[in-house]
Every structure is written in C-alpha cells, then in structure tokens.
C-alpha cells in the first residue's frame, strides 16, 4: 500500500492539463491575429509605395522623371515642374545642418560620456533630450521671430566681409537657407547626440584603460581609442540626423522664404521638397498634375529617407555589435 501517490491528474477521463477543443483553438487564433498585424505593416508600406507612385504618375509622365529631378524651373502656373531648386534646397539646408549640428552633438556626447562628472551626467542627458520635446512648429515660431531678426546684422556683416567666398555675398534675405540649416541643426542635436552617446559607451573599458595606462591624456584616449572605435556608429548617428533634417517641414517652411528660385548664396531664400508640399497642396487640390508633382516630391523624400535610414541603422548596428551591451534603440526611446 506504500505506493508513491501521484497526483490525481485525471478528471472525467481527461488529463487536467489537457485543454478543451475550444481552448486549443485560442492559441493559433491569437498567433494568427498578431501575425496578421505584423503582416499588415508590410502591406501598408507596399500600399504606400504603390499609391504614391500611382498618384505621382501624371506629373512624372508630363515632366519626365529625370527632368523632374534635375530641371531648374519650378513653375506650377505654367505647368513646369522641375524640382531641382527644391532638391538643391533640401540638400543645402541638410548639409548646413550636419556641418553645424554633428560636431556639436558629438562634442556633447563625448563630454557627457567621458569627461562629465558622474552627478552631472544624468541632468545633462535630460537637458539635451529636452530639445527633442520642442515641436517643429515652435522651433519655426522661435526661428521666425527671434533668430531671423537677431541674426540679420551678423549675417549682413559676414556676407560683406567674406563676399570673396563662393556662395557668399549679396543681399541678406530675412528667411534664408542658413537660418533653415541652423534650425535643422538644433533639431537633429538630440538624436545625433543620443545615438553617439550609446555608441561611445559601447567602447570596451579595457581599450580605454589600456590607453590611459600607457600614459595618454584624456583627450588622447578619446582621440586614439574612443573615436576610431565608434567612427562607424557616429557616422550612422549623423545619417539618422540627415534623414531627420531632409524631412523636416514646418520649421523649415517658416524660416526659408519659400522661393521656388534657386538662391545663389546661403543667405538667399530657398525652398525644400518638404516645404513645397506644405505650401502648395492647397492650390493643387483640383489639378492632378500639380498634385502629382507634389506627391512626386513626397515620393522622393520617402525614398531618400528610407535609403538613408537603412544605411544609418546598418552602421549603428554594426558598431554596437562590436560591444556587448544591450542594443540602443534608434528612434527616440531612452
């Protein structure tokens, strides 16, 4: 009678661990729903593409794809849609944004990770991220009413003094490429800085300590151990900033002047692909070709940002895989 009693696992002829037929269907159903949602994302993106291309078609066949991208004549009232001034404006402002924003962001990232005292680190991180909490329209408001009037004298002085430089010289317009680039630089600071910080903190401690042990100064350690190691990651961060900069609409349209004529110097007014969509969609409501041209501009933006972000994430992921810490999340968490 001294049998080890196993728990009574049978009830009504069935194991209590066994599930009813209805319950058995719940798992695949649940899984199916979630898989469906995931698949829906792919469907959405495919639909995006197809739809945008379809709606852009009237303009692209009217103008020709190559001509659309490279003709320097944006004149909707004459049904001419050469978007080169817009493309160039987008590239110019993004370039200025990177030129100003990346060094500052990387400097901040280096300072916070390597040089700042521990107690200051947290607040500094929060402060830099607060820049991301300010919405685009508020940057536009601030840029339009504060930056433009305050910087005009300095811009005028700069353009008078350095007029021998290419792309400098002439009349300083209130809203111009430079101000737009400057505002974009401020807007990309948080993301470039955050990703750079993550990348820099994955540099293995032994590498840094070895360099210090060999007598390097702090700066030399940064220059010889940290920077080379995180170079591709920082490049990735800069590219994410670039992606953000070319897509920014409202802040840019308020401070760039919205002139469809390609400016000749950085203090001229200009236009970007994103700004033209925001400015002209109202007029294009009933004009399939004009609307198509704007959608084509949107399509160019879409493709550009897809490519840039894809490359950026590949670079950042590669940089992070060198270290062993948990991956950072590009895109604003943290």
């Amino acid at each position: 009678m001294a049998t080890t009693s196993s728990p009574d696992v049978r009830r009504g002829g069935r194991s209590i661990l066994e599930r009813s037929p209805a319950a058995r269907r719940a798992d695949p159903l649940f899984r199916g729903i979630l898989t469906g949602l995931a698949g829906l994302i792919l469907v959405l993106i495919a639909f995006f593409f197809v739809f945008l291309i379809n709606k852009a078609e009237p303009a692209l066949s009217h103008q020709g794809v190559f001509s659309f991208l490279f003709t320097n004549d944006w004149n909707p009232s004459k049904a001419i849609y050469g978007a080169w001034p817009l493309v160039a404006g987008t590239l110019i402002t993004a370039f200025i944004a990177l030129l100003i924003g990346v060094p500052v962001a990387v400097a901040a990232a280096l300072f916070i990770t390597e040089l700042a005292p521990r107690r200051v680190r947290g607040p500094l991180v929060i402060l830099v991220e607060l820049l991301a909490a300010v919405p685009s329209v508020v940057y536009g408001l601030w840029g339009f009413f504060v930056l433009i009037p305050k910087l005009k004298p300095a811009e005028q002085w700069f353009t008078d003094t350095f007029s021998f430089l290419p792309l400098v010289g002439g009349n300083v317009a209130g809203p111009n490429y430079f101000i737009a680039g400057l505002i974009l630089a401020i807007m990309i600071l948080p993301i470039v800085s955050a990703i750079s910080r993550e990348v820099i903190s994955t540099v293995p401690a032994d590498l840094k300590e070895a360099s210090l042990a060999l007598g390097a100064t702090r700066w030399e350690m940064i220059r010889m151990a940290v920077l080379p190691y995180s170079r591709s990651g920082i490049t990735g961060a800069a590219m994410l900033g670039l992606g953000r900069a070319i897509g920014e609409t409202i802040a840019v349209t308020l401070v760039i002047g919205n002139s469809p004529v390609l400016g000749k110097q950085i203090f001229d007014q200009g236009y970007t692909l994103a700004a033209v969509i925001a400015s002209e969609f109202g007029e294009a409501a009933n004009d399939k070709v004009h609307a198509g041209a704007l959608i084509a501009a949107g399509l160019v933006l879409f493709i550009l940002t897809l490519l840039i972000n894809a490359m950026a994430r590949a670079l950042v992921r590669r940089a992070e895989n060198k270290g062993t810490k948990v991956k950072a999340v590009p895109g604003g968490l943290g």
Binding site: L34, P103, L130, S136
Partner: protein, 288 residues
C-alpha cells in the same frame, strides 16, 4: 621596461584645450534650449489667461481674437483616437516579433521595415492620407478629424512598435517558461504574464509617441484642416494646437502673434507633462 611617453607641456595643453572645447560644445548644444524656453516663457506667459483656454478663436479681423479652446480640445481628441489605433496595433506587432516571430525571416523583414518607417517624414504620412482619404471624399466629407488621427497613428506606429519590442525583450524568458511549465496556454502567458511585467515600459514608449504626435503640424494641415469652433464630431474639420500656432505665426496682428507664443507655451507644457508621466511610469518597472 619601455619608458612611458613624456607628458610634454604641449600634450598637456592640447588635453586642456580639447576638454574646454568639448565643454563649450556641450554648452552650445544647450543654448538653443535655454533660448527657446526663455522666449516661450517671456512672450508666452503674458498671453496666458482664462480667456485663452476657455474661448474659441473668433477669426475676427478686428477686435477680440478669442482663445485657443477648440485647438486644445481638437488636439486631445485627435491624439486620443490616434493612440487608440496605434497603441494596440503597435503592441500587437511587437508581441508578434518577440513572442512568435523572433529571428524568423518574416519577423526580420517586418522589424526592418518598422525600423525604417520611423524615419519617414511626417508630411509623407499626411500626404498619403490626403491622397487616399481626403481627395476621394471618403466618409462623406473632405477634411475630417479622424483622417488627421489616421495620419498621426501612422506616425506613431513605428515608434510604439519599436519601443514596445525593446521592452518586451527585457522580460526574462524564465518567467515565460515557468508559466508554460504550469500548463498555461501560450496566449495566456503573453497576456497575463509578459504584458503586465512589461506594462510600465510599454506605457513609457507609448506616451513618448503620444507626446510626439501631439506636436505634429504637417500631417494635420491637409487632413483635418482647421476651424474656429469647438467640435466633438471627429467626422468634421477639427482645429488643433500646432495648426493654430502655424496659422497665427504668419499673421501681422500683434495680438495673434502673442497668442501664438501663448499656444506654443501651452503645447510644450503639454508635451513635457506627457514625457514626465512617461518617465515616472518607467520608474515603476520591474525590469532593468
């Protein structure tokens, strides 16, 4: 033993100079923040009054300009609907990626495209909704609040998904395995064990997406348009705070410009409060 390199004065100076340069760089990064906050407070606080928050914009050319009530309410309504769409959707996709898909090819493809979708400019989403829903007159009227919500939801979706995925990955496998070992069906493990554990982090990520959506202008410009009156009907045009600011900025009227500053301060405050709540929620997390 090899001697260490001499710490020449030149090296020491370079070190000092570069330290200062990096510190200055950090300070430069913070100057815009201080400047924006300073101007928001100095110009915006003056516009804050009971009237600002309780009256609709009148649109009058002369005389009383009213307040921003319809804009505030519109933003809240549209963001609420957008969240109701994007958050369950995003959590669902993240759950799939973490619980079922893992490293599979389909999951990797989805993950890749979600990643890449975070970089798409908000105006492209607006344009997409404009072309599909507004111009075709879907649902009876042209511009509607719910169409603005759809555009915002598209914007929020990749952010919610990505952040949710990161948080769900932090849930230890041991928890899942223990529950499974007790005979809990898979779906119940997900809903009753994984989700509650990750909830604070999920909420943080979602609230950050909400904060971002609240500040977006471009998608709303051509989906919800703008009206003066307050409406609770999402099937009609709806005002929103960012669009109201955008319109007021371009006005020559000093009263409207001041209202724009006041509204901007209100918007930034709203976003900061949401971000603060998000951070507080993550403090309650049992993970990391």
């Amino acid at each position: 033993m090899t001697a260490l390199a001499q710490l020449t004065p030149r090296r020491r100076t370079t070190d000092r100079v570069m330290r200062v340069v990096l510190a200055i760089g950090t300070a430069i990064a913070l100057i815009p923040l201080i400047a924006v906050i300073y101007y928001l407070l100095s110009k915006g606080l003056g516009a804050w009054s009971i009237d600002l928050f309780t009256k609709d914009p009148t649109g009058n050319f002369l005389g009383d300009q009213g307040g921003i009530k319809s804009a505030l309410l519109g933003t809240i309504e549209m963001v609420a609907l957008a969240s109701a769409i994007a958050i369950p959707f995003g959590w669902g996709v993240a759950l799939y990626l973490v619980e079922y898909g893992r490293k599979g090819r389909f999951a990797s493809t989805v993950r890749y495209f979600v990643d890449v979708m975070t970089g798409v400019p908000s105006i492209v989403f607006g344009l997409f909704v404009y072309a599909t829903l507004v111009l075709s007159g879907w649902g009876g009227s042209s511009f509607s609040g719910w169409k603005g919500s759809v555009a915002l939801a598209l914007l929020m979706l990749p952010v919610v998904t990505r952040s949710a995925e990161v948080v769900l990955l932090l849930v230890p496998d041991a928890l899942r395995e223990a529950a499974l070992a007790l005979g809990t069906p898979r779906w119940r493990v997900t809903l009753r064990v994984v989700l509650p554990t990750a909830l604070p982090g999920l909420i943080t990520g979602s609230l950050l997406a909400v904060a971002r959506a609240a500040g977006e202008t471009a998608p709303l410009l051509f989906t919800a348009a703008a009206v003066n009156g307050t409406t609770f009907n999402l099937g009609e045009r709806m005002n929103s705070l960012p669009v109201q600011i955008y319109n007021d900025v371009q006005s020559p009227s000093d009263a409207l410009v001041q209202r724009a500053w006041g509204s901007a301060l209100a918007l930034v405050t709203l976003i900061l409060l949401t971000t603060l709540v998000a951070r507080l929620a993550s403090r309650r997390s049992r993970l990391s």
